[in-house]
């Protein structure tokens, strides 16, 4: 319980600094945002009016407090381009990204588990070498390039997958699968490579433990020892580290969505960056960071439930 409370308390300053950072993004812009938005021909009155609309005419501290109070109430401001609430824009786009993230993780797990187990069991042999080489290459291939190659191969050359517009899963699951398959595999391969490396080393550690020797000594067969005894123990660190991949994954999805023109959260961010919709940029960045913080918090807490050592003597280390 102490660990849980401590973990929550340390999250508070993180959220505080996060809010300051997101708030100050808009002040990093060289010059006046209102002036940039309205262009060079804008009259001083128009600039003044937009300044007032964005709240930029108030003292900095007041601006921050107003913004923070609004955010706490779930109000991320109004888009400067669409004039719609930013939170609504994000909620419209988020399901696509969430689906993409889940699909990616499924692909990653389907590739990483068999290969990782094989590599750990056949340590030092050809299968291990091949798996590790594949992992090194997989980690180094940027998903967006892989995505473009997939488009080239499967859509342009062989016409296997149509490059159709996004269809939500509840409208037509098959069409949805068709437009999600390539993006999920393109991003999933990199995540699989990361998972594979972790799983291999973690499983190799577990296979060297005493309880595995006991299992062998009891006369259990190879598969039972590996899958029933070693693997569950090897999974705890892999799941934690896998969950921490979420930050990298979210970043990668931004560009995957761009390659495949998927109307997700990342595309919203890129579009608002180019249309200079600063409030939407702020809102999306904040939501992305909050997702990462919440997922990490949940993983830490689950981890402490799975592994009691963390609860009893796990002193918080910064």
């Amino acid at each position: 319980m102490r660990y849980v409370i401590e973990r929550f308390i340390t999250t508070i300053p993180v959220l505080f600094f996060l809010s300051i950072m997101v708030f100050s993004f808009i002040h990093l812009i060289p010059g006046n945002p209102a002036e940039i938005l309205l262009g060079q021909d804008a009259t001083p009155q128009a600039i003044h009016a937009l300044d007032a609309q964005m709240g930029l005419d108030k003292p900095l501290l007041m601006q921050y407090l107003t913004w923070l109070l609004n955010v706490l109430r779930g109000d991320l401001g109004t888009s400067l381009v669409d004039h719609e609430p930013v939170s609504q824009l994000i909620l419209q786009r988020l399901p696509v990204t969430v689906e993409l993230a889940f699909g990616t993780m499924i692909v990653a797990i389907l590739i990483a588990f068999p290969l990782g187990v094989a590599a750990a069991v056949m340590r030092g042999r050809v299968a291990d070498f091949v798996a590790m080489f594949a992992a090194t290459v997989g980690i180094s291939v940027p998903p967006f390039w892989l995505g473009i190659l997939f488009l080239l191969l499967f859509t342009v050359k062989f016409h296997l997958v149509a490059n159709s517009l996004y269809v939500p899963i509840w409208q037509d699951p098959l069409k949805n699968l068709e437009c999600m398959l390539l993006p999920c595999v393109a991003t999933g391969i990199r995540e699989a490579a990361v998972l594979l490396r972790m799983l291999r080393s973690s499983l190799m550690d577990a296979l060297g433990e005493d309880f595995v020797r006991t299992a062998w000594a009891k006369g259990l067969k190879g598969a039972a020892v590996t899958l029933r005894h070693a693997l569950p123990n090897a999974l705890v660190p892999v799941l934690t580290a896998g969950g921490l991949q979420i930050a990298g994954l979210l970043g990668g999805l931004v560009i995957t969505e761009q390659v495949f023109s998927l109307p997700g959260f990342g595309q919203l961010l890129v579009q608002s960056v180019f249309s200079r919709d600063y409030t939407t940029v702020q809102g999306t960045a904040l939501v992305a960071a909050l997702i990462v913080i919440i997922v990490n918090l949940l993983i830490d807490l689950t981890y402490s439930r799975i592994d009691p050592r963390i609860r009893t003597d796990g002193r918080m280390e910064a």
Partner: protein
């Protein structure tokens, strides 16, 4: 099976044992990742530095008589929609990529290492509740999203891309430096330095930093790989270095419009990108392995 002694068995190893015929230790490759990665990284750096001398054409030399040509003896990697030689642009792109990535590394390590050392040395409230929590907050942003937002706010250009990517690297360097500081602090030589009256700054930078440097170098090599990808991603999205400057990311972006007509345009810049990322990853793994062996 007979238990009688084998007449050919001799307890003494023959003099020409395999161990003796191996070349001396220096010539033996004990760490293939380090050797391969090091050689490849050196190759990339030389290519990037020598691009103006080895490129067959200028990176922005337009030739409308040779538009969208496939790989040939004249243009090894083909030409793009403006007839520019792809090989030359890739060579110059290596330059852009290395410049921005090294710059980002300087920003990331230049800010992260002192902050991490300072936090680890003084510890206390400032460390636990302010510095490390700011680092957590920076780390909460997905790396690419942070770089994208910062690049968007600061404006395009290679200098801003360096800053945008560099800030995303600060947490990694700060954490590594802090962990090293905590490890070194308990050692006797620090007490000795204190006793002879060294200032805090001297202890941190003259005594501890050199001892903490090796893991930071490993981090830097691995961070180089992620900066290269981040730089290419920013340029693919249209931020970072602006056209007509050759860069792998912007080459990929414009190539995506010619998938049907000129598929080689997406192939070669991507291969260059993968090649450099693999090289830096290999080097990083190699340095890490070398370090682990040295410690054990």
């Amino acid at each position: 099976m007979s238990l009688a002694p084998d007449p050919h068995f001799s307890p003494v190893e023959p003099t020409s044992s395999p161990a003796r015929t191996l070349p001396p230790r220096l010539l033996r490759i004990t760490n293939p990742s380090l050797a391969t990665g090091g050689a490849l990284v050196l190759f990339i750096l030389v290519v990037a530095a020598m691009a103006p001398y080895i490129a067959p054409y200028g990176p922005n030399q337009v030739d409308y008589s040779a538009v969208l040509q496939g790989p040939s003896a004249h243009h090894w990697f083909g030409t793009d929609q403006l007839g520019r030689d792809q090989l030359s642009r890739i060579l110059f792109g290596a330059r852009t990529s290395m410049e921005v990535s090294v710059g980002a590394l300087v920003v990331g390590a230049g800010l992260g290492v002192p902050v991490g050392l300072f936090a680890g040395y003084y510890r206390g409230f400032l460390d636990t509740w302010v510095i490390m929590r700011i680092i957590d907050a920076i780390q909460a942003f997905p790396f690419l999203i942070l770089a994208l937002v910062l690049a968007a706010m600061l404006g395009p250009g290679s200098r801003n891309a360096m800053i945008a990517i560099g800030i995303g690297l600060v947490p990694t360097f700060a954490r590594t430096a802090r962990a090293q500081m905590l490890q070194e602090l308990g050692k006797d030589y620090i007490d000795a330095a204190r006793v002879v009256g060294c200032t805090h700054a001297r202890i941190i930078f003259r005594h501890i930093l050199p001892n903490a440097l090796t893991p930071i170098i490993v981090q830097a090599t691995l961070a180089m790989a992620s900066s290269i990808v981040a730089e290419a991603s920013l340029e693919y999205l249209g931020l970072g270095v602006q056209p007509p400057t050759a860069s792998w990311g912007s080459m990929l972006q414009s190539a995506q419009g010619y998938l049907q007509l000129a598929p080689w345009l997406v192939l070669f810049p991507g291969l260059a990108l993968v090649f450099s990322v693999v090289s830096f990853n290999l080097l990083g793994d190699g340095v890490q392995r070398w370090l682990n062996r040295k410690i054990s």
